[in-house]
Amino acid sequence: MTALLEVEDLRVAYGKIEAVKGISFSVEAGQVVTLIGTNGAGKTTTLRTLSGLLKPSSGKVVFDGRPLGSVPAHKIVSLGLAHSPEGRHIFPRLTITENLQLGAFLRKDKAGIERDIQRAYDLFPILGERRKQAAGTLSGGEQQMLAMGRALMSQPKLLMLDEPSMGLSPIMMQKIMATIVELKAQGTTILLVEQNAQAALSLADRGHVMETGSIVLSGSGRDLLHDESVRKAYLGED
């Protein structure tokens, strides 16, 4: 069986500075795969390239049997690849409902969209309570829920989450991580980028450690969690 997402020797550069220096990894359907690493390791750049916002300088990306090389960003989501970006990027002056509707921008099944909006409210009850409120008025954690809910509205085959726990209180972070576990249990395939290595590795099937644009270590979530170098570098142990 071929993987849902296959990345091969991907390189991305900003001008002359190469941010991603030839990485390869794959995501199987039903898996949660995480990319961990410090700031500037190239994790966000990798996700932005997969969703077409950045163009790779070389390498190959095959998603669901289709090469993504020249597919423009706005067509990627229709292939089943949804991206909840770093920093949440909800539409601040639109309501919560309108944000969710935009997540389903390319879908035509009105009844299905309504049902999925309801499902997002079931997953995140606070969003349902505030559905008519401008999204910019939500707290950081609530905005993160909205960003995840919005990404799910496209009924993706693969959900990419970029730093969902960034800047959140510990309680809110636990909530978000619990949601990811719940989505995983429902069979959602997830590519998770996180700086919180502990949380990410404990729920991931596979993990890849990135350093300055390269993958330096790969393994199952459990193995990486117990790897000495990972514990030293990312889990704050001496």
């Binding site: 229709s78 970006p85 990027h89 539409f91 309108e98």
Partner: protein, 309 residues
């Protein structure tokens, strides 16, 4: 007829025209953060497009039949030029430093003006524009010229349709998303290039309505009519809060009324007898702009920059 209601009405008509043009500045700025300084010229070509259609129609045709055709012709020309400017002048410069598209816009503005001046028949001086076939209306103490009747009907109608479109249509929702966060809009599956074209096209259409109104109001169109009108409409857009369509219309009305008031009454203030009259009107318009920029830089309906982040 120098009564206060009359001056308010004059300001309202003038302001409606500024507002129609200002929509084009504000929509384009809201979506691509570009000041399209060629927009005044797009307004001018809208007027000439309408005139061209009128001249092509048989002599003596009723204005009631000619008017819709003129509107259509003017709109076609203005929209094509606006969309063409986006496609061939601005799009290649997307991502370039902001100064590059700005200079391009000024160059484009000169080019369009010179093209009309040199190649449109007899456009070296202003060309006579047909008038609506009824005299001025008298509403109480207020006199409304026939050209202003068109303006006062067309401006609110266009505005209402636009407001409805942006708020409720699928494309309108996509425009809002693109204005607020273009990258994320693409992640939703929105073709932002198409949205940018739509913004230019709507701006072009509104400019054409304004160009036709100008001809009906002043009885002529001229190759250089876009300069001052464009500058004032830009002022109106900033005044109302650039990026906000209701702000553009409000800014236009405030500017128009302020101009009319200043023209009529400034000379009554002791010591300012020399400063009244129409030739000083642009001065007061720009004084108003400076005051707004000093005390409310985000404009009347604009949001603070922090809210946009």
């Amino acid at each position: 007829m120098n009564t206060l209601p009359q001056q308010l009405a004059n300001g309202l008509f003038l302001g409606s025209m500024y507002g129609l043009i200002a929509i084009g500045y504000t929509m384009v700025y809201g979506i691509v953060q570009l000041i399209n300084f060629a927009h005044g010229e797009i307004f001018m070509t809208g007027g000439f497009g309408a005139l061209t259609v009128y001249l092509a129609l048989p002599d003596g045709i009723s204005m009631w039949i000619a008017l819709p055709a003129m509107l259509l012709g003017g709109a076609l020309v203005a929209v094509l030029i606006a969309v063409g400017a986006e496609r061939f002048a601005y799009r290649p410069l997307r991502g370039a430093p902001r100064l590059a598209p700005l200079i391009t816009a000024i160059g484009l503005s000169l080019a369009i003006k010179e093209a009309v001046f040199n190649w449109y028949p007899d456009a070296k001086t202003s060309r006579v524009f047909p008038q609506l076939p009824f005299g001025p209306l008298h509403l109480g103490s207020v006199t409304v010229q026939s050209g202003d009747v068109f303006l006062i009907l067309a401006a609110p109608l266009c505005m209402a349709v636009l407001g409805f479109f942006v708020r409720f249509s699928r494309t309108g929702r996509a425009m809002q998303a693109t204005a607020q966060d273009p990258d994320t809009a693409q992640l939703m599956g929105i073709d932002t290039n198409r949205i940018i074209v739509v913004a230019f096209a709507i701006g072009g259409f509104f400019a054409a309505v304004a160009g036709l109104s100008y001809g009906l109001k002043y009885g002529s169109v001229a190759y250089d009519m876009g300069f001052l009108a464009g500058l004032k409409a830009f002022t109106a857009a900033v005044l109302g809060g650039i990026g906000n369509i209701y702000g553009a219309m409000l800014g236009g009305l405030v500017l128009g009324i302020a101009e009319a008031m200043a023209t009529a009454y400034i000379s009554d203030i002791p010591g300012m007898q020399q400063l009244g009259g129409g030739s000083w009107a642009p001065v007061w318009a720009f004084v108003l702009l400076i005051l707004v920029l000093l005390f409310r830089p985000q404009g009347l309906l604009g949001e603070r920059v922090a809210d946009r982040a």
